[in-house]
Amino acid sequence: MIKAIFYSKFDTIEGPKVVHQVPDGAIVPSPQRALTTTLPHLLGCLLLLCTNGYRILGYPICMKSVRYDRNEFIFNFCIVLAEEEDFSTYKSVVQKLADLMHGLEEQNGFLSRDFSKSGEGKVYSLCEMLMEDLNNYCECMIPIDELNTLNIKLFPIYPSPPPVKAWQVPLFTLRYQAFMDENWDLTMQRIVPHINGVNSVRIISVLADTDFSLTCRALRHLLYYGCLFILDIFSFSAIYAPTAQFIPTIGSDEAMQLECARYINLRFAPHPPTGPSSLSPPTLIPNPSAHGSTSDSTGTAPLSSSLTDPSSSLTREESRFDAEEIWPLLGADEDPSTSTSTSPTTPNTLHKPAIVDGAALVELYASLKQGQSVKQWYAAHSRSLANIDIRRFITFGVIKGFLYRVHKYACATSQPAPPPRASSFTPTALSSRGTTGNNTPYAVSSVSEDAPISAATRRGSSRERAGSVVSGGRNGNGNGSGGPPSAFWEEEEQEEVGDEVLAKYLDGTHCFDQICTELEMSERELTARLKRYPWEVLIIHR
């Protein structure tokens, strides 16, 4: 809130004086702004002064012309704010005001010919309107004469977002269709339809056929205005774990639990889950196919504050969340018909709740942990997750900040790689999981030739070794997993990434997502490749 605006000038006879002030009497006429007008070095600078709990912003300007007495005219428009108030947005207001007045004075002596008494005249009413409009509407449009108008809008200032990375996944926070028009930047217009919370930046630039660096800039621009979230590349081999925000957010906030239920419940998915078979091997559990279909809906289902997307609110009135229907149904044990039944009020509701309620959602989130991939987690909770869109489930947590992605980093040591052990263990029973790179961009091409074995080995190894103490640095990461995968890979390797290319990613500062994106390989390929790296490679989860 602007407390006051005043206009002072250097009078050739009286010296510095306050000519006009709004509100009247806010500033007792005094020579005080003399400061700004008598220090010639500070003319044309934005000045700021704190006093008595007020902060005064001013921008003194000196104009030279023979038409003035002493050949110069010094004036200053100042804005008074409360000291504790954020003044950043007003800096530009003061500057703009000064610039406009400078122009007006140059054109027709707007200020120097204003001889009206204090509290009257054009300049005064300008200040008055400016203050009222900015305080009430945060913007103003004040016509001054036939040529000039004072247009000011208070813009909030946001921190500059960090550079966008190729392996990040943007997701709109609002419906871009609502505010995009044909005047937009061409790159922006092309990339926007591909932003869906699934495609990585790199993929977006490929799909939109736009220059990569321009894509990044465009996305960064959207980020600046808070139009995007940045997510990670979702895959079933990724690891997520709760952050310290867990309890204060989803753990306590029942509204957020409802919001979550609405977002993740397959019942509200805009399109019925018709799984594109090309995306998921037929052996997969039903959910990943739902991912494929809901993925493109994400763009149109913006995660605005309530995460209610209009398409689904067609089916349900959002005003009244029935406690029963918002919650995803529990998967049936054997009989699939129960999942389609609309009424949950079966006699055994009490003893065997057929729904995943808020507390159960929290439990599900809480059961995500370090060292456990989404796949393993799904296997353990498949019944609860039967009617839940896994990707959305994870994404929701990441967006709300109570989940974080545990990234993998590879770090090569100077030790020679130990010889691959004999297949001392067999993959654990998780072989029915989806492929690792299912949702990673480059897996699409290779997914058809996939067999789940190698991925299973990878994960399996960490599981297997979880109990062992002696395994030293190599446990939990599957480096030691032996023969079968490499034999498997040998026959389908087309072109191998060179060691020296790989080496620069192995300093522990590049996460797997980055390596995979930049080398255009799937995580599984990368893992296999790392095994054949001549030096020992340690994998750090962070």
Partner: protein
């Protein structure tokens, strides 16, 4: 996310000392000689914000290049900045950051910058070119005397003006006028902004009687012995002890803005200043100045905080540095006329240097070596601007230490959109927050008292710290040395106190001293049964350097990457990684090393009680039964008002339907009572509250704070407790997992500890605290917790009774 606290960033550009005497204000000293030009070189290596800010700046410059010749490229700007004083276009040029922003390739017209007019590039030059400005300077300003005119930077290097008399492209006389406020600013924050720079000071004025402090307090010269925020091993700063020694002159709050008038030099003032002061400055000998007295001094810190962090940065440096430093100077001034004497000394040397045409560098090295005040300012600048502790000695008697306390830990993990501070200790185990203390039995003044269940983790080797402590030989040194020797990161303060005999309050005081002065950190005691993970916030870019340091520290043990990799898998208690009992000590040392560097963090477990629908229904029915009984016992319905009658009638109906044991009848009744629930005539609040809950009856929920449970929640808790089975069968089951606990114990265990543990089940208190706080065995605590439904690791697969599984746990740092 604005909630993320940022570590201190000094943003310090320069320090200016202004004194005012009868002859007018004087810019006595400023450091560095050429601010921002040096700064730039130094800070670009800092990466992060500075770099980006520079980029923003150059971008702004670019955008204004159309109006301002010569501002077309970064190189130009750099060049000009290095030239610093030479020219009207100073370093303040183009430093606006009003559109902190993005690249200039903003596609949409929505950028705030788009609508803005172009800015002039110079601090001094107003709108126009410097030529115009020069014209202005010579033609105008009747009150500018020749002395000021010769201060024009535009006069170039050829003039007789020594380079050190201008600062940031603005001559000293301007600063003198700007930075010597009126008396109403006495001991208050003085803040002026010029473009993106903020100049902050804490001016001190001489008292009416000519002294610098109240007389009666003069005796208090001896520094206090107790720690008072003073620096480790230094004489405790005297002025620290006597904060608020004088009542702060109450600011005339009622005064209108007009009183600012007096605050700054009015034109008459400056005229007088230039009339009488300047000649004195230029050619008078010391003699008249001897009779002169200082009336004010003001140490002004020039900072350039990013716009968005402005108030935070300004507050940090004001509270921690500016005020304390000025107070110290005031103390010395009162004692020995220190500031005035030193100022005269410095001014004299400057005069001499001017005559002999000494170079700036020589003058500054001479000043710093000969004047303790100049040295103090130099020390403050060089330490604070690099976020270090400044140890300043003003005289042999008085020395102080200043710092902006750094952020030691954060609970927030930054997302990809936030600015990250890798390497910062990621934890919710904050030793000073009340959350840490459910019973709130501690004195919770931050920084003063550390929770007694924390341990001390030294941030340097014990020997190095002791050496420093002994070298400085302060009053605290022996006590500190003794304590440091006793301290172990595996033992809490309370335990150390018990074992060493040092009183707990002393330990807490000494520890907070060490923590405050960055020698140690308060952590939850390291324990082999606790779980540690690779910190998501660790700084992997330092991995290479750290690996070497680690190698030298622990040459025969697995390398740092190996260790991190080991800790990367499924979280397991640290004991799993210790190969044998003999290795325990060294593995604890390794863990301490990892914690110190922020490489790992403790994974802590938090739990909440989940109330299942069964419990809710049972309580609901019991309540209704009570309701009915109360109603019936009241006997005659005539005595009850109509409202109550209808309400209890409702309740009665419901009770009937639900007591008919069919649950779906209750469920179907769900829709109809909605109207009656909204009945404004409700008088039986309790029963109505329950009715409101009835929709939620079929959903489980959490009890948010068990030790402050509502009446209904208390009923639920009682119900949960009453359902704990105590049949021997469960005891058997539990016994399998806990062979060393006798069956009898095991049976009673969870019932016994339930009331004790209850208050920890709030989701904010880590389960790891329970053993330390309640002084129980970890094993026992975990057995009980496990039976209550805590699932951590493979042991969770015990055969457990579902009635006991009431906890929902989550693990994070």
């Amino acid at each position: 996310m604005s909630s993320i606290a940022r570590p201190p960033d000094p943003c310090l550009v320069a320090i200016i000392l202004i004194v005012r005497s009868r002859t007018g204000p004087r810019l006595v000293f400023h450091y560095p000689p050429n601010p921002l030009s040096e700064n730039r070189i130094k800070t670009t290596t800092k990466g992060g914000r500075r770099v980006s800010r520079n980029r923003t700046r150059s971008k702004n410059t670019d955008s204004s290049s159309s109006s301002e010749s010569g501002l077309s490229s970064d190189e130009d700007e750099d060049e000009r900045e290095t030239q610093s004083h030479a020219g009207g276009s100073s370093v303040l040029a183009g430093r606006r950051a009003s559109n902190f922003g993005l690249d200039d390739h903003l596609p949409a017209a929505a950028s705030p910058a788009a609508g803005e007019p172009q800015r002039p590039g110079s601090l001094g030059s107003g709108r126009g070119s410097s030529a115009r400005k020069r014209a202005a300077a010579t033609e105008q300003d009747p009150e500018d005397d020749a002395g000021t005119a010769s201060d024009r930077p535009d006069d170039g290097p050829g003039s007789s003006r020594p380079p050190w008399e201008s600062l940031l492209g603005v001559p000293g006389s301007v600063w003198e006028k700007l930075l010597s406020p009126s008396r109403s600013w006495h001991k208050r924050r003085f803040e002026v902004g010029i473009n993106d720079l903020a100049l902050i000071g804490w001016p001190v004025f001489v008292r009416e009687d000519g002294s610098w402090r109240k007389q009666r307090r003069k005796k208090q010269k001896k520094p206090r012995a107790e720690w008072d925020g003073g620096e480790l091993g230094h004489n405790d700063s005297a002025e620290e002890g006597k904060k608020d020694e004088q009542p702060v002159t109450s600011p005339d709050l009622g005064a209108s803005v007009a009183s600012i008038a007096e605050s700054l030099t009015s034109p008459t003032d400056s005229k007088r200043g230039s009339g009488s002061g300047r000649p004195g400055k230029q050619d008078e000998s010391l003699d008249p100045e001897d009779k002169d007295h200082m009336t004010m001094f003001n140490v002004v810190f020039v900072v350039d905080p990013p716009l968005l962090e402005y108030s935070m940065r300004v507050k940090e440096i004001y509270e921690n540095i500016i005020k304390k430093f000025a107070k110290a100077l005031k103390w010395e001034q009162a004692r020995t006329d220190y500031v005035w004497k030193e100022s005269q000394h410095i001014l004299q040397m400057r005069r001499r240097a001017r005559e002999t045409k000494t170079s700036t560098n020589n003058l500054y090295s001479e000043l710093i070596s000969q004047s303790s005040l100049a040295r103090a300012i130099y020390t403050v600048y060089s330490s604070i601007s690099t976020s270090k502790i400044a140890s300043v000695s003003l005289s042999p008697d008085v020395s102080i230490s200043l710092q902006i306390p750094p952020l030691t830990s954060t609970p927030y993990l930054t997302g990809p959109m936030d600015k990250a501070y890798p390497g910062l200790w990621l934890t919710t185990a904050d030793s000073a927050t009340p959350v840490d203390d459910p019973s709130a039995d501690e004195n919770n003044t931050p920084h003063q008292v550390l929770a007694k269940h924390f341990a001390l983790l030294l941030l340097d080797s014990e020997a190095a710290i002791i050496k420093d402590v002994e070298a400085s030989g302060g009053a605290l040194a022996p006590a500190l040395t003794h304590y440091i020797r006793c301290s172990k990161p595996t033992k809490s303060f309370a335990q150390i106190s018990a074992s060493s005999g040092i009183p707990l309050s002393h330990i807490q005081m000494l520890s907070s001293h060490l923590v405050y002065w960055r020698r140690a950190r308060a952590i939850p005691p390291i324990h082999q049964r606790d779980t540690y993970i690779v910190s998501p916030n660790c700084d992997l870019s330092k991995l290479e350097i750290a690996t070497i340091a680690y190698q030298t520290a622990f040459p025969t043990y697995p390398s740092l990457p190996k260790m991190l990799s080991t800790l990367s898998g499924t979280p397991r208690p640290y004991s799993n990684f210790i190969p044998s009992k003999d290795h325990k000590e060294i593995y604890f040392t390794i863990l301490a090393w990892l914690l110190r560097g922020g490489w790992v963090t403790q994974l802590r477990t938090f739990a909440r009680i989940k109330v299942s629908p069964e419990i809710k229904m049972a309580v609901e029915m019991a309540l209704r039964k009570e309701e009915v009984e109360r109603y019936l016992s009241k006997g005659n319905p005539d005595s009850i008002s109509v409202d109550e009658d209808s309400d209890s009638g409702d309740a009665n109906d419901d009770t009937h339907s639900s007591s008919s044991s069919s649950l779906d009848s209750h469920g179907s009744g769900d829709e109809t009572p909605t109207a009656s629930r909204l009945d404004p005539h409700a008088r039986l609040r309790f029963s109505h509250k329950l009715l409101d809950q009835s929709t939620a009856l079929r959903l489980s929920s959490f009890i948010l704070s068990p030790h402050r449970a509502s009446p209904l929640e208390s009923r639920w808790l009682d119900e949960i407790f009453s359902r704990f089975p105590d049949d021997p069968r469960t005891a058997q089951g539990a016994e399998n997992a806990s062979p060393d606990v006798s069956p009898n114990d095991s049976q009673a265990l969870h019932k016994k500890y339930w009331p004790v543990f209850l208050k920890y089940f709030n989701g904010y208190d880590a389960m790891e605290k329970i053993p330390v706080r309640e002084n129980l065995k970890r094993k026992l605590v975990w057995q009980v917790l496990m039976r209550l439904g805590l699932t951590t690791g493979p042991l969770g697969a015990m055969d457990l009774d579902t009635r006991e599984q009431v906890l929902v746990s989550v693990r994070h740092w």
